[in-house]
Every structure is written in structure tokens, then in C-alpha cells.
């Protein structure tokens, strides 16, 4: 299975974020999307990774990006994790058919039956602009995401501003 690369159209999906709500990729047209596939709720590395992204939601918003995290866990596990860790972004459940979206992006780990630890930055036209596959046990941090978002033509204006000036501008 090969991970989808930059310049590929991002496969559409609709997944449950809670028992009675679902999220579709197409809702975010004209905004950038960060897709963070991760193997499992509650495992320590994932949690550190998502805890870091949870701190960066303002920064992602400044770069016109919405974070969506995806694993094969069920909605109730996601709900408990989000509440426990105070996550303020959707955790999507790639549960039935299991791993269908991870497969579509080429990041399903067949043997373990989980999503790989993979990152995608998708632009406002629904095109993948950057992707990164991290070893399963390694938290990839956020440097690559921030760089990829800043490199998007729609965010180029930000490049000329020092980060603090951009943040503090009214």
C-alpha cells in the first residue's frame, strides 16, 4: 500500500465524529485541512502527538487550516478520549467499514488493523499538498505541518510577517 503523495486529489470521505454527528472532507473546501491518521486512542505516543496539535489550533487557524484526526477506534472511545484530554478538534472514526478511509489514503496497516501514523496537508481545492509517514512509535511533532501550511500559495502573505506580528495583528 502506497501513501498518497503531494498533487493527488484527496479522496472524499464522511466519518462519524460523535454518535450523532459526522464530518465530510468537502465541508472544508476553501480552507486547508490537516489530516492526522494515528493508530489508536489512548496509546501514549498518539496522545502526546494529539496533545501537541491541541495546543496549536490557533496557529493552524491563522494558517486557515482545520485539524481532523482519524483512527479506527469507535465514536465512544473517541468521545471519552476527547473529554479526558480536552481536545478541541474532531476525532473521526474510521470504524465501518474498518479502515476504509485509511486505505483510500494508502496508510492502513493490514497486520495490526490500524491506521499508520501519517499526516496530510490538503489545500482549499481538495488537493494533497504535503504528506508524511512517521514510524509507528515516533511522534512526528508539528514542524512539517507548519512548514507545509506556510508554503501554500494562499498563505504566502504570512511569510513576510514575523510570527508574533501576524498573531498580534488585530
Amino acid at each position: 500500500m502506497t501513501m498518497l503523495a503531494a498533487s493527488t486529489a484527496a479522496p472524499e470521505f464522511t466519518l462519524h465524529s460523535t454518535p450523532d454527528q459526522s464530518v465530510s472532507l468537502k465541508e472544508f473546501r476553501s480552507r486547508n485541512v490537516i489530516l492526522a491518521f494515528y493508530p489508536a486512542d489512548w496509546s501514549p505516543v498518539c496522545s502526546d502527538q494529539l496533545a501537541l496539535y491541541n495546543e496549536l489550533l490557533d496557529e493552524f487557524a491563522r494558517l486557515n487550516a482545520q485539524l481532523l484526526a482519524i483512527s479506527v477506534d469507535g465514536v465512544w472511545s473517541h468521545a471519552a478520549l476527547a473529554r479526558d484530554r480536552k481536545y478541541h478538534f474532531p476525532l473521526l472514526s474510521d470504524f465501518e467499514p474498518k479502515g476504509q478511509v485509511a486505505r483510500a489514503y494508502g496508510v492502513y496497516e493490514e497486520q495490526a488493523g490500524v491506521a499508520q501514523r501519517a499526516l496530510f496537508v490538503i489545500d482549499g481545492d481538495g488537493v494533497i499538498r504535503w504528506s508524511y509517514l512517521s514510524p509507528m512509535g515516533v511522534n512526528p511533532g508539528a514542524a512539517g505541518i507548519v512548514k507545509a501550511l506556510e508554503a501554500l500559495p494562499s498563505n504566502n502573505i504570512q511569510k513576510t510577517l514575523p510570527i508574533d506580528a501576524a498573531r498580534e495583528a488585530p
Partner: protein, 182 residues
């Protein structure tokens, strides 16, 4: 993982809180969170490293508060910055880690004990905390860490390279860098 996202994006400068010889062979940078238990566990080990390598090591601390996971981490970072204005950054840094288990469950009230322990004037600290430079410094540290590939706390950089591994091998890798220079 030694690629460009794992290199210190913001060089150590006069804006940093640094301890030890400015011309030391090794500069160890920690991105830390005062409420993070793992950082609390690392604290005495960093002290040991500083003691062991003495003049060969400069230690720099930068803020990386994970505020959603640790609700008082940001306030603690602010307090350390306010103490820094009074010339007491390291005293507060040490107090926060040495007493983490005591203050963390009590939040702001717990942190007040730190001000008393250091003999800081609470009115002066309260006024300093309203200065936007304090938050700006913490934010600058945090985003610099993100750009350097910090993925959790504590994260350590040895002469600009992200170190990933256990503490014993951190000590040895610092020792090797020093040995090569002598």
C-alpha cells in the same frame, strides 16, 4: 530522527535563560513544561549533568507549556518569567520543579507559595504578569520549539540537534561530544 525538522530552529541568544559557561563545548537546550511530570523527573537528572560536566556545559531552558493537558503550566511559565524580571528565573525554575507535586494540585494558590518561598513581592509580580512581553516570550519559545520538531516534553537539544532516547544515553552523548573537543 535527525532531519531538518529536528534541528533547533531558533539559535540560543541573549533572550534565553542560560546557566553555565557561555563558551561551553556543549549547549543543552530543554523545552519544558513546569507542570509536566516527566519534566519534573528530568529535573534532578539535568542537575546531575550540569554538575558532572560543569564548565563544559551550558544549559538553556525554553518554555513549552502544554496548557490543555496541564492547566497551570502556562501560569507557572508566566510566573517564572515574572521572577526573571526580578533576576530570579532559575530560583523559580528550581522551585517549580522541586515542589511540583505540592503546588500542581492547588493551581494558582499552590504557585503563590513559590512567590513567598523566593521572597518575591506579590504586587510587583502581579503587575509584571500584566506585561504582554511575558506571554510573547512564552509564545516565542513555544513556536520556536514547534518549528524545531519538539513533539512532547521534555525535549532536549544537544548542540542544536534533537536528542531522542533515554537519559543515560543523553549523558553519554554529551560526554562523547566533550571528549571529542579535548
Amino acid at each position: 530522527m535527525l532531519h531538518e525538522d529536528a534541528i533547533l530552529a531558533v539559535p540560543v541568544s541573549a533572550h534565553d535563560h542560560a546557566q553555565g559557561n557561555a563558551h561551553a563545548v556543549v549547549t543543552l537546550v530543554e523545552y519544558g513544561d513546569f507542570q509536566c511530570p516527566a519534566c519534573g523527573s528530568a529535573y534532578p537528572l539535568v542537575k546531575q549533568i550540569q554538575h558532572r560536566y560543569a564548565g563544559n556545559l551550558r544549559f538553556v531552558f525554553r518554555h513549552f507549556p502544554l496548557s490543555q493537558a496541564h492547566p497551570y503550566a502556562h501560569l507557572a511559565a508566566e510566573l517564572a518569567e515574572a521572577a526573571a524580571v526580578e533576576g530570579q528565573f532559575w530560583a523559580m525554575h528550581d522551585w517549580l520543579y522541586e515542589n511540583q507535586a505540592a503546588w500542581a494540585p492547588h493551581g494558582a494558590a499552590g504557585l503563590e507559595a513559590g512567590m513567598r518561598a523566593l521572597g518575591l513581592d506579590e504586587a510587583i509580580i502581579a503587575a509584571t504578569l500584566r506585561n504582554p512581553d511575558i506571554d510573547a516570550h512564552i509564545r516565542r519559545d513555544f513556536m520556536g520549539g514547534v518549528r524545531s520538531g519538539v513533539n512532547g516534553t521534555p525535549s532536549f537539544y544537544v548542540n542544536g540537534y534533537l536528542y531522542q532516547g533515554d537519559f543515560d544515553s543523553l549523558v553519554h552523548s554529551i560526554g562523547r561530544v566533550i571528549a571529542r573537543q579535548h
